[in-house]
């Protein structure tokens, strides 16, 4: 996010040097503002125009939009990058299932239940489908409203899907407590739907435009009408259009600070093979929210893994929980190995052990998620820390071999580790790919 400089702020201040803000001059105050050390409210004389300008230029390039209240809320937008390696992506793409009234109430109920149940623990984090969208298409409005009632009681973020502003009003009266997302205002129903959104204050999707220009106009008009929380829906009819439009929106918002595109995005997809791939594309390329009919769990689970991967902060490695892990069904005679809690290291070592088809105890030592060499160099992986882990995890109760295999790269710790633990230290291979051979030779 590009903050205004102290000089840019200074130009907008009253330049009275009155000192009422507790700083001797307006310039000094401007410098504090630029560093986010004080709030603009400390100046009693700032003009409303200057205030609006400063708030605008200080706002993030993509607005943060929250759907839902209390514990069920999800956050969309507030992204600042084109590429995750430049910093990170902040808010994982929200995934939601669509329950459509053309399928009847029972099918809608089971879709809501399915959305609720798609929740898994993966590398120590919960990954889940976060949302449900209730859509009115060709079914009965009674079914639609009943499903809205059920969905708003579920622990999911809710989207109400109808272009009929009157029906939207009715649905809202049943679900206001869950602060739903309203889908959608189009060039056809714009004024009526914007009025509904303005009255309730919940976020509104803008879509159905023929071009990005028209989408920008809708965003501009909605903002002028007083709806501040917007979600944009560009054309995503093919993956090619989806990538092109999402790239334009993200670039215009982040690099050009083009305000009409400074909002999160949503795509509504079907369930063809192409739509499956578009889900993965949306996760990688800038979709804040993806709503889709349904997909087999065999696709959804890896999709959740992809989202977790892409939204991992490159500056903070994913860690696995330190502790002792059983690979296969080890007994007290099985070999004991250790590695670090950097997830990539752990999974690589584990996969290589599994290739040997031999049961093993794998001790995962806490290194704040650093790899073996990095942690060793940084002093986070020492004979002392390994010895402590052996003691804390009560290894002696699990393995009676009195022997530990250490990564070849830290062979230098073998003497000290043996001294501290009384165990026989076996220096393992430098690369874990050689583990199957080493393990087989150990018997």
């Amino acid at each position: 996010m590009t903050m205004p400089t102290a000089m840019e702020i200074y130009k907008l201040l009253p330049k009275k040097n009155c000192g009422e803000c507790k700083f001797p001059t307006c310039l000094a105050f401007a410098m504090q503002l630029a560093n986010l050390k004080v709030a603009l409210e400390a100046c009693p004389y700032v003009s409303p125009e200057a205030k609006a300008t400063l708030e605008e230029s200080g706002a993030p390039p993509i607005r943060l939009v929250t759907i839902g209240g209390g514990g069920q809320s999800v956050k969309l937008g507030d992204e600042t990058q084109l590429f995750r390696h430049d910093k990170t992506f902040y808010h994982p793409t929200v995934l939601g299932l669509v329950a459509d009234d053309s399928e009847g109430l029972e099918a809608m109920k089971s879709r809501i239940e399915k959305a609720r149940s798609l929740s898994f623990e993966r590398v120590g984090q919960m990954v889940r489908v976060d949302a449900v969208a209730i859509r009115h298409s060709s079914g009965s409005t009674a079914d639609f409203l009943e499903a809205v009632k059920i969905a708003s009681a579920a622990p999911l973020a809710v989207t109400l899907m109808t272009e009929d502003s009157e029906l939207m009003g009715k649905a809202l009266s049943l679900s206001a407590s869950c602060k739903p997302l309203l889908y959608r205002a189009t060039p056809g129903n714009f004024d009526a739907m914007v009025a509904v959104a303005k009255a309730c204050g919940f976020p509104l999707v803008l879509g159905g435009s023929a071009s990005l220009e028209e989408l920008a106009q809708l965003a501009d008009r909605a903002k002028k009408a007083g709806v501040v929380d917007l979600v944009l829906e560009p054309d995503t009819s093919t993956a090619r259009e989806m990538l092109e439009n999402m790239t334009y929106l993200r670039r215009a918002a982040v690099k050009k600070k083009f305000r009409p595109f400074g909002y999160p995005t949503v795509a509504v997809l079907g369930n063809s093979l192409q739509d499956q791939a578009k889900l993965a594309l949306g996760v990688m390329k800038y979709s804040s929210m993806l709503l889709f009919n349904d997909e087999p769990v065999e696709y959804l689970y890896p999709l959740l893994a992809l989202r977790q991967n892409i939204f991992t902060d490159p500056q903070v490695p994913i860690q696995v929980k330190p502790g002792v892990y059983a690979v296969g069904q080890p007994t007290d005679k099985s070999p004991l190995l250790f590695t670090t809690n950097f997830s990539l290291t752990y999974f690589t070592v584990r996969a290589d052990i599994e290739k040997s088809k031999l049961p093993v105890w794998l001790l995962v030592v806490d290194t704040d998620g650093q790899s073996v060499m990095t942690a060793f160099a940084a002093g986070k992986l020492t004979p002392e820390s390994v010895a402590k882990a052996i003691e804390v995890e009560k290894i002696s109760e699990k393995s009676t071999r009195k022997e530990i295999v250490i990564p070849g790269q830290v062979s230098r710790m073998s003497g000290k580790l043996g001294e501290l633990t009384g165990m026989k230290v076996v220096v393992g291979p430098r690369e874990s790919s050689a583990l199957p051979k080493v393990l087989k030779s150990m018997g």
Partner: protein, 317 residues
């Protein structure tokens, strides 16, 4: 409201590398496959051109020792016969190229002789007309002699030999240079190492149009994000104009089958045979979106699914 949609033009372009030689070109392949050549970010057709489609090589392994159970079941009996497997890649599964892995040369396992391995390469060349890539067993000493033999039996066919690594690249590169083949330059998940590897090969006398780089694809769920960002950074570096990074990128997506949770029995996550296919498809699709120019894949259904996804991403030609 008029808006200027922000397009990006880059000064650099990915080099083109050819694999396979037709009869006119001195070989016996059905076609010459060209990879690379784009001057923009992947699939950014609205601001760049990509003269060559993303190529998919399907792999053939000469020992089922390393093939997971689920794959042996879903791919059928061809996995026991490398030549038949290669024929299926061409005839049934629509591969653009074939990658033959000579893992049975491994001196600690089957320890198959160099002559036997070279004969297999000859047989595969005879049985199919696909452009061919040949990988060794990963044991430096054995591979040095093996690649020399492979290079000789495939003389004129313009194959790719793999993999050249920082600590073991001279013999394989010399073998490739002797008969006008290309090499796959491997590096371990690091943009600087990838660049260093290319420099080593160039200094050794290899021409840039004979090099494809493999910056190591970590599969979905096991570090994919590292590879994704390394590939994006390599691509950006190349497009910004660094000639030493402008080699096409190859990504080995068959690694998806080594991920335990892709194939483990867990009813909550559905049927393993379908999950495994999704795992490889998403791994491959991510590599493509990040910037791979060529993919190595294994399961035929994953390839079909990926092709459908790529067609939608490439759109109207």
């Amino acid at each position: 409201m008029t808006i200027e949609l922000p397009k990006e033009k880059f000064p650099g372009r990915i080099k083109e590398v050819a694999i396979g030689a037709t009869i006119e070109q001195g070989g016996t392949r059905g076609k010459r496959l060209v990879v690379g050549g784009s001057n923009g970010l992947p699939f950014h057709k609205f601001e760049s051109d990509a003269p060559n489609k993303l190529a998919i090589a399907m792999d053939v392994v000469d020992t089922i020792r390393v093939i997971p159970e689920q794959l042996i079941q879903s791919m059928g009996s061809v996995v026991n016969h490398p030549v038949e497997w290669a024929k299926a890649c061409e005839r049934d599964w629509g591969a653009d190229a074939c990658l033959l892995r000579l893992l049975s040369a491994n001196p600690e396992e089957e320890n198959r002789s160099i002559e036997e391995c070279a004969t297999l390469v000859k047989d595969v060349l005879k049985a199919t007309s696909l452009p061919l890539i040949v990988y060794g067993c990963g044991f430096e000493e054995k591979d040095a002699k093996l690649m020399e033999a492979v290079s000789n039996v495939s003389k004129g066919e313009r194959v790719l030999l793999g993999q050249a690594e920082e600590k073991a690249f001279k013999s394989i590169t010399a073998a490739a240079m002797a008969n006008g083949h290309g090499v796959v330059a491997f590096s371990n998940l690091d943009i600087n190492l990838a660049k260093q590897m290319n420099i080593l090969l160039l200094d050794f006398g290899m021409k840039p149009e004979n090099i494809i780089m493999d910056p190591l694809l970590a599969p979905l769920g096991m570090g994919l994000e590292y590879s994704y960002s390394v590939i994006e950074r390599l691509k950006l570096g190349a497009l910004m104009g660094d000639p030493v990074l402008q080699m096409p990128i190859i990504c080995d997506c068959s690694c998806a089958w080594t991920v335990p949770e892709a194939v483990e029995d867990d009813p909550r996550k559905g049927r393993p045979e379908l999950r495994g296919v999704s795992w490889e498809t998403i791994t491959a699709y991510s590599a493509a979106v990040a910037g791979a120019d060529m993919l190595i894949m294994r399961q035929p259904q994953s390839v079909t699914n990926l092709r459908a996804a790529l067609a939608d991403l490439t759109g109207r030609e």
